[in-house]
């Protein structure tokens, strides 16, 4: 009897642990997701008391809106540049750091500093770098194309914004790669060496399979970061010049809070959600095979 009561009471205790988190998450998060999807089928401007459900009208307009396709393309380019930049740099840095014998702890910690600083601070610091430092160097070395800020030029603005994002975002994946590299047993490298494997072969057949699981983790994180990017463009260029850096995150924000197209912005956000879901699934399917499970 005593025992039974104890089990029932511990069941209740466990249950009570879940109530507050579940309530908060459902109320603020899930409820918002559901209303966001609902509003995307309406014509609400975000302010007026009444609105109507208009079915797929927002989505139809979206498909015919060149600005939407443009920002979609900008976001895609942004994400591709970010993914390539971060993965390649992080891999090179991790391999370099891994082979370091002295000062490894210090250098590793130093390379992690950018990850500590907020996106807005970083964006504003680099804004000044582009505005003052690069032109100064250009003047010093007589390189004319360095004289104006990359952020003001339609062609170079997007790569410049992505560069600033990479500057911060590369630290975390480097660390994850590094921890992936450290589980590779040394004997395997030794036997590969005895077999006469080239540096590339060692990388392709030994290192790469071992770090593939960490590539998956990194890719998921970076792809999501790329598609949902907002801070860097907003703080560096505000989406300009001539909408050259207007990623979807900016378009959604502007449509909702500046242009009073609340329901349209929600439709844009839903499209973004679908894109991220599709990319994540494809990407996980593609990379989850063939790695060494650590």
């Amino acid at each position: 009897m005593q025992k039974k009561r104890q089990i029932i009471s511990s069941k209740l205790v466990f249950f009570s642990f879940t109530i507050i988190p579940l309530a908060l998450y459902s109320f603020f998060y899930v409820y918002s997701v559901v209303t966001g999807i609902r509003y995307s089928f309406s014509d609400w401007d975000g302010i007026s008391p009444d609105y109507q459900f208009i079915g797929l009208e927002n989505y139809r307009k979206l498909v015919h809106n060149p600005a939407f396709w443009r920002s979609l393309k900008t976001t895609l380019v942004y994400t591709i540049l970010l993914v390539i930049g971060v993965i390649v740099l992080a891999l090179i840095l991790a391999l370099s750091l891994n082979s370091l014998k002295r000062f490894r702890g210090f250098i590793k910690s130093f390379f992690f500093v950018p990850a500590m600083i907020g996106a807005v601070t970083i964006a504003l610091i680099w804004d000044q770098m582009f505005l003052r430092v690069l032109p100064y160097i250009g003047e010093l070395l007589r390189i004319p194309w360095l004289s104006a800020s990359f952020l003001g030029n339609v062609k170079t603005a997007l790569p410049a914004v992505v560069f600033v994002n990479i500057w911060q975002a590369v630290a975390m994946p480097t660390l994850i790669f590094l921890s992936g590299l450290q589980v590779i047993p040394d004997e395997q490298y030794e036997s590969a060496m005895l077999d006469g494997a080239t540096t590339f072969q060692k990388f392709r057949y030994l290192t790469f399979p071992y770090i593939l699981p960490t590539v998956t983790v990194n890719l998921v994180l970076i792809i999501k970061a790329g598609f949902t990017t907002f801070d860097y463009s907003y703080a560096l260029t505000g989406g300009g010049p001539v909408r050259a850096t207007e990623v979807i995150g900016i378009m959604i924000y502007n449509d909702a809070f500046q242009n009073m197209k609340f329901s349209m912005a929600n439709a844009e956000a839903c499209v973004l959600f679908i894109i991220i879901a599709v990319f994540s699934v494809i990407q996980i399917k593609l990379t989850s095979r063939g790695g060494v499970n650590t």
Binding site: S32, V33, L100, M116, V120
Partner: protein, 282 residues
């Protein structure tokens, strides 16, 4: 001959590795160096030579910033929001994770787990507008509202990390405690909390960085009244706030980086380890 060839190859790798690390080091060090030195220069001195070490210690930027009462308000807002959010997160996330991890075979807990996990795939833009609407109607466009949001949003990633971590811990100790007559609460506080320390450290670091540096949520929730701004909002609006004095802007950037860099310098070994553990499991 062969040995010699090999030696050259190894050196080639070492040289290119050192060049790579050197460039990387400069890419990080130069901007930080410029922020620090120019924070200690007058606008004129910076205009004369942007790269030079300051000839004399010029502290007016700091004096101006610190004598601005608004500034301390922003620092206070950031600190209060971060500290309270993190306290609540470290209270609630491990508790619900513990309940899920130890009752995982029950349908209700399994459902909660996946229900919370779902949030991992939803971009913040989808909830951005409805959340603002909701908070407006509840009169929660203030610090308390923002703290509630951080808590609600922290469950997705936090529970994911914690449940996996707890399920990797041995069950025997808890069973022994149970036989000795410990209640769930006692088992949790006396046995689980000490064992969860690495994960607690990870979540404290990750979520502190997220909340201290966050821009999007404060922009939506706190932008209306200047008195409730956080540091990132202050920095973003710096240009309109002061007639743009970039050496003073650098001072402001330095002052917002400093607390986190000091914390990092003190606990970097722990932080880096904790972050890697969290990330790899995630």
């Amino acid at each position: 001959m062969k040995i010699k060839g090999k030696k050259i190859q190894v050196n080639g790798w070492l040289v290119s590795r050192n060049i790579i690390l050197g460039i990387g080091f400069l890419m990080i060090a130069v901007p930080l160096y410029l922020v620090v030195i120019n924070a200690f220069k007058s606008l004129k001195a910076a205009g004369d030579n942007f790269f030079a070490f300051p000839k004399m210690l010029y502290l007016d930027n700091f004096r101006n910033l610190f004598s601005d009462n608004h500034y301390w308000g922003f620092v206070g807002n950031s600190a209060i929001i971060t500290v309270i959010s993190i306290s609540l997160i470290t209270l609630f996330v491990p508790l619900v994770s513990y309940a899920i991890a130890r009752n995982y075979e029950k349908r209700y807990y399994k459902f909660i787990y996946f229900y919370l996990l779902m949030g991992l795939f939803i971009p913040s833009q989808v909830i951005m507008l409805p959340v603002t609407k909701l908070m407006t109607s509840l009169n929660l466009l203030n610090k308390s509202g923002l703290i509630l949001l951080y808590l609600a949003f922290s469950f997705t990633q936090g529970v994911f990390l914690f449940v996996n971590f707890i399920r990797g811990l041995p069950l025997e100790i808890e069973e022994a405690a149970h036989i000795d007559g410990c209640t769930v609460m006692q088992t949790y506080s006396k046995i689980m909390v000490p064992m969860m320390k690495p994960m607690l450290a990870t979540i404290i670091v990750m979520d502190s960085l997220w909340i201290w540096n966050d821009f999007l949520l404060p922009l939506m929730i706190l932008n209306k009244s200047q008195a409730s701004w956080t540091l990132p909002l202050f920095q973003y609006n710096f240009k309109t706030e002061y007639s743009f004095d970039y050496t003073m802007a650098f001072t402001a950037y330095l002052m917002s980086m400093l607390p986190i860099l000091i914390v990092y310098a003190c606990g970097q070994k722990y932080i880096v380890k904790g972050l890697t553990a969290g990330a790899v499991k995630g």
